[in-house]
Symmetry: C2
C-alpha cells in the first residue's frame, strides 16, 4: 500500500486523495489514514485542494519536497553522480573520468567526492538513499560485485555496505544494464511500458529485462547476460575465454579491433587515415569513417548489427516483449546499426511477435544511469518490508 502510493506520486506527480483511492482500489478513508502516516515519516504531505471533479473537493497529495536520492552510474572509464528529488528530477550532477581497473577503493573514493559535491550544491547533508550501477555482474541481495571480467579487484567487494557506512543511508547496487533499463522506464522511451528489453551495446553487451513493470533478475541474479551467447562455432576469443560470443563480434572493443584490422590491411583508406592521425582506433572512429562514405566501415557496422539482430530474434521468439530499446556506446554509430538490427530481428522472428514491436534507440545519455540508480533506491526506500496487516 505504502509502496504503491509513493510510486504513483513518484511516477505521476501530485494526485488527489480521490485519484489515489481509484488507482489503489481502496477507499478515500484508507488513503487519508495512510497519508497521515506517511507525513509523519517525512515521505508525503498534503498539498492543497485538488481541482474539482464535481461533488466534494478532494485534497492533493504530494511527495515530501525534502526527499533526496543519489544515483551513481559507474562506467568502465568514468562515473556520473546526480542528486534527485523524490520524483527523480535531477537537481545537480557531477561527472569524472575514472578507470574501473583502478579497483573499488579508488573508484568509490572518486564517486564519494562527487556525491559530497552534489549534496553540497543542493544544501543537503544526508540523502534518503543511494543507488549504484557498476559495469559487471552483481549479487543483488548481498550488494557485492561478482567475478566481473573487466573489473579486476572488485570480485566480492562489499560495495553496498561500504558506501552505506560512508554516507549513513540505505544503498542498492545493481549492474549498469539493469540501472539503465529502469532509467529508461522512468524517463526515457520505455516510460509507461510494462514489458520491455533494454539492450546495452558497449564494451560489453547485456540486456535488462522488465516484466510487468519490475526488473527480472533470474534465479541467480544473472539474467540478461546475453553478451556471451554463442553466435558462431568459430570466432575471435572473448574476454570470458570462450570463442564465438556475441560480445566478441559486436561489442565496441570488437569493433575497434576490426576497424584497426581494416585500416592495417588496406581495406579502408578512411580508417587507415584515422589510425595514422590518432595512433589507435575506437568504435567511435567507425562513425567518422561512415560519415566519409567508407564502405568497409559501413560493412563492419552492418556485420555487428546482424549478429545482434540474430540474438534479438531468438529472444523475441522466446520472450515476446512489447518494446526493445538499444542503448550504450555503439548507438553513437548512427542509423546503419539500428537499421541492420531491426531488419534481421524483424525478418527472423515470428510475425505475431513483431507485429507491434518497436525497436528504438535510447534517448537518455549519462543521465539515464543516474536516474535509474536513483529509481532503484527510491523503490526500496518507498517499499519497506511487508508487515502483518490487521
Amino acid at each position: 500500500m505504502q509502496a504503491r502510493l509513493l510510486a504513483e506520486l513518484r511516477d505521476e506527480g501530485p494526485l488527489s486523495k480521490a485519484q489515489l483511492a481509484d488507482r489503489l482500489l481502496v477507499s478515500r478513508t484508507t488513503i487519508a489514514v495512510e497519508v497521515t502516516r506517511l507525513a509523519e515519516l517525512g515521505l508525503a504531505q498534503e498539498a492543497g485542494p485538488a481541482a474539482s471533479r464535481g461533488g466534494r473537493r478532494s485534497t492533493l497529495v504530494d511527495l515530501a519536497p525534502e526527499i533526496r536520492f543519489v544515483g551513481i552510474a559507474i562506467g568502465a572509464t568514468g562515473l556520473s553522480v546526480g542528486v534527485t528529488d523524490g520524483r527523480l528530477v535531477v537537481l545537480a550532477t557531477s561527472t569524472r573520468a575514472c578507470d574501473i581497473r583502478q579497483g573499488p577503493e579508488t573508484v568509490l573514493a572518486a564517486a564519494l567526492e562527487c556525491v559530497r559535491e552534489v549534496l553540497a550544491e543542493v544544501g543537503v547533508d544526508r540523502p534518503m538513499g543511494v543507488g549504484i550501477g557498476v559495469p559487471g555482474p552483481v549479487d543483488f541481495h548481498r550488494g557485492v560485485s561478482v567475478s566481473p571480467p573487466i573489473m579486476p579487484g572488485w570480485d566480492g567487494y562489499p560495495v553496498r555496505d561500504a558506501v552505506s557506512r560512508e554516507l549513513g543511508c540505505p544503498v542498492v547496487l545493481d549492474n549498469d544494464v539493469n540501472v539503465l533499463a529502469v532509467g529508461e522506464q522512468h524517463a526515457g522511451v520505455a516510460r509507461g511500458v510494462r514489458d520491455f528489453l533494454f539492450v546495452k551495446i558497449g564494451t560489453g553487451i547485456g540486456c535488462g529485462i522488465v516484466i510487468d513493470g519490475d526488473l527480472y533478475r533470474g534465479v541467480d541474479g544473472c539474467a540478461g547476460d546475453i553478451g556471451h551467447i554463442r553466435v558462431d562455432d568459430v570466432g575471435p576469443t572473448c574476454a570470458c575465454g570462450n570463442t564465438g560470443c556475441l560480445e566478441a563480434f559486436a561489442g565496441s572493443a570488437a569493433l575497434a579491433r576490426d576497424a584497426t584490422a581494416a585500416a592495417r590491411s588496406g581495406g579502408s583508406s578512411a580508417l587507415a587515415a584515422l589510425l595514422g592521425q590518432k595512433g589507435e582506433l575506437t568504435a567511435a572512429d567507425l562513425a567518422l569513417a561512415v560519415a566519409q562514405g567508407d564502405p568497409q566501415a559501413v560493412q563492419l557496422i552492418r556485420d555487428s548489427g546482424r549478429r545482434v539482430g540474430e540474438v534479438l530474434a531468438s529472444l523475441v521468439s522466446f520472450f515476446n516483449p512489447g518494446l526493445i530499446v538499444i542503448g550504450g556506446g555503439v548507438t553513437g554509430l548512427g542509423p546503419a546499426l539500428l537499421a541492420e538490427i531491426r531488419g534481421v530481428t524483424y525478418r527472423r522472428s515470428l510475425p505475431l511477435a513483431t507485429g507491434n514491436l518497436p525497436i528504438v534507440l535510447s534517448e537518455l545519455g549519462d543521465e539515464g544511469g543516474v536516474i535509474g540508480a536513483a529509481r532503484l533506491i527510491s523503490g526500496s526506500v518507498y517499499a519497506p518490508d511487508e508487515r502483518r496487516s490487521a
Copy 2:
C-alpha cells in the same frame, strides 16, 4: 485473498485457520470471515479441529468436496480428458485417437463425448470449469486458436466459447506447452519451483515459461515459441515456410525424415530393416534402432539434442531459470537425447547460470496435460475479478 487462500488449499491440502493466517499474512479473524464467505459460495468448508500447536486449537479448512474440474488435452493425433476434484486429483479419464486436421467441429465433438463419459462416471452433471490445451498458438484472452500451422480449419475458431456454451461453465483455452508446464508445476518434477522452463519436443517444439509461479505469456501471448528460432543459415524447410528453424532440425517429424533418409541411403541397416517391415518410420523407431546399437540412429539423436542444447544455452544466459524440464514425444528416445542436451547447454552457458540448474525429463505422461488444463481453469474459478476493498 480468495484466490490465494483457495490456491493454498489446492496445492497444500487442508490447513488450519492459524496456518492460513500465517501464510496469507492476515489475522485469524480475517480468515474466519473469508472461510464463511467461501462456504456460502460452495468453494471451501470447515473440516474439523486441527492438530494442536499448543494453545487454542484451530479449525481445519478444506476445499468443498463437490468441486469438479475437467481438463482436456488435445494433441495432434489424439486427446485425453479427465475430471478432477478441487485439488486436481484425477478421478476419471478417457482418451481417444483423433486427428487434429479433421477440424474443430469433429475434434471438439469427440472431446465433448469424452467429457460426458467421465462426468457420468463420477456422477456429475456440470463441472465448475473446463481447461483445454491445443497443439498450436492461442489468443488466450479471446479464447481462440490463431493461425495454427498443423491445425487447418482452427484459425480463429472460438473454442472457448463453443465449449462453454455446450457445457454451461467457464472455460479457458491455452496452448499445449503452457498446459504441460503448469501440469508439471502442480504434479511433476517442477512442483514447488517458482521459475522454470518446460520445453516440449514433439512434432513441434515450444517452451512454457513460469515466472514467480505464474505462466508468462508475453505481450501478444506468443512467448515460448522457440521452435522457429533460427539455428542455422541453411537447413530443411520448416512447416512455417522458413529454413533453419530448430523444429525443422530437431522436432519428431524432422527425426522421422532423417531416419527415413538414413534407411534409404544405406547409412543404417537397423533403420532400413525397420522401414522394410513397417513401410514408414517415426521418431520412435529411432529408439528401437538405438536399442540395437545402431550408430547412425545414435548420431541422429545426438544431432537433435545438440540443436536443442544450443538454443537452451542462449535462453539460460538470457533468462537464468531455476530448472528446465524436457517433455513431449521425443523424450521417449532415451538417455542419449538428454545427455546431449545437457552437455551442450552446460558447456555453452555462463557458469553462474548453470551452477544450480537441473535439466530433467518430465515424468508425467498424458495426465500432465489433463492436470495442467484443470489447474488453469481452477486458477480462474478460484480467482474472481478483484473487487474494491473497503
